[in-house]
């Protein structure tokens, strides 16, 4: 435990008391696979995240620029006649993800307001690159129609060809750029 509090990248003090250990990666992966299998068997769909974020983003943008959102080819369909922006399995699933993450963080002793960053960047730089990275990933996820959960995990498990292409492209993009942005993390 002393190891964690002494680690250089932690911006603020880590959550106190009873830090639960991480699960073994293979155990965590097995349970994640069972959850995914469960959603296939019950509703016939997998997990996801970016699809729900697109709907929430569209709804938020609708407050400010409704006509642009409604007329947009990418966001408009969420508000078509008979459709409701929140009426999608992924929106409810994402609510669960946030609640589950919160519950695990609280019970694991890992909840705490902090900015996690590499040892060589300031908090301000970290937030700037977090925003930039999010924007790039958000754009890529919409183009690919899914992200790590909706494409790589879900499509990977159903052996969808395009999802496997996506998965290798993600690793290719990340490993390809990693060297050039190493100052962010190492």
């Amino acid at each position: 435990m002393a190891n964690v509090s002494a680690s250089p990248g932690r911006h603020t003090k880590p959550a106190p008391t009873q830090l639960k250990p991480m699960w073994d990666p293979y155990v965590a992966g097995f349970f994640l696979g069972l959850v995914l299998l469960g959603t296939f068997l019950v509703v016939g769909r997998g997990l996801g995240a970016s699809g729900a974020l697109a709907r929430i983003t569209a709804r938020t943008a609708e407050i400010f620029v409704p006509s642009w959102v409604h007329g947009n080819g990418a966001l408009g369909p969420y508000f078509a006649k008979g459709a409701k922006w929140w009426d999608d399995w992924l929106v409810f699933e994402l609510i669960g993800v946030v609640l589950g993450g919160l519950a695990a963080g609280l019970t694991g002793g890992r909840f705490g307001i902090q900015i996690e960053r590499g040892p060589r960047v300031t908090a301000r730089q970290r937030l700037l690159f977090a925003f930039l990275g999010g924007a790039i990933a958000g754009f890529g996820a919409r183009l690919a129609q899914g992200c790590t959960s909706g494409q790589a995990l879900t499509g990977g498990a159903t052996l969808a060809l395009g999802s496997w292409a996506f998965m290798f492209a993600v690793f290719g993009g990340a490993y390809g750029l990693a060297y050039f942005v190493r100052r962010l993390w190492t």
């Binding site: 435990m1 190891n3 990248g9 250990p21 991480m22 699960w23 073994d24 990666p25 293979y26 992966g29 994640l32 696979g33 069972l34 299998l37 296939f40 068997l41 019950v42 016939g44 997998g46 974020l53 983003t57 990418a74 399995w89 699933e93 669960g96 589950g100 993450g101 919160l102 963080g105 694991g108 705490g112 902090q114 937030l127 977090a130 990275g133 999010g134 924007a135 790039i136 990933a137 958000g138 996820a141 183009l143 690919a144 992200c147 790590t148 879900t154 159903t158 052996l159 969808a160 060809l161 999802s163 492209a169 690793f171 290719g172 993009g173 390809g176 750029l177 990693a178 190493r182 993390w185």
Partner: protein, 213 residues
Amino acid sequence: MMPLKPETWIAYTFAVLSGFAFGFVLERAGFGSSRKLAAQFYLRDMTVLKVMFTAIVTAMLGLVLLRAAGLVNMDAIYVNPTFLGPQVVGGLIFGAGFVVGGYCPGTSAVAAATGKVDGIVFLAGIAAGILGYAGAYPKLAAFANKGGDRVFLMDWLKLSYGTVAILVTLLALGMFAGAEWIERKMRGAAPTTPGSAGDESHQDDTTAPSPAE
């Protein structure tokens, strides 16, 4: 016959519950931490690869076996349509965002839920990226919508479902062996990230599942 496809409100209740389990497991895997996630791309911590491929193989084998037993109808299960061009280009862009920002969308939601300000900011970035994509959509639509067929790895490889499942399992096992080898090589060679393979702190608790290596 599965999928059961219950009525909407039951499905949505189940969505919250399965999302809860998903988020809980992501946090317990250590994926609320951007440094741990990014360490995957510096070969310091192979947890992302191990968790992802264990999950894929588990769900895949479950589907294959239940289908062989006649308990599940694959035709009734949603399979991501294949848009090869947009998925490869989108994947490359997405991977770049992953290593720059330290998260993917699902993990940033977990990070935000556990109080990580960088996770919240990454989510705000995603929203900006989604709006940027929407703005560019009129110009991208022709490229983005090319494809859309239900195509499987087995169609591409011209092999049976079962054979491909075995090959994917072997591929995963090979990558796990490689991941363990890399982690042994890198251990001690570099500063560790919290909860990473080289960090002993996560082994203090006696209730911890024993490390696979």
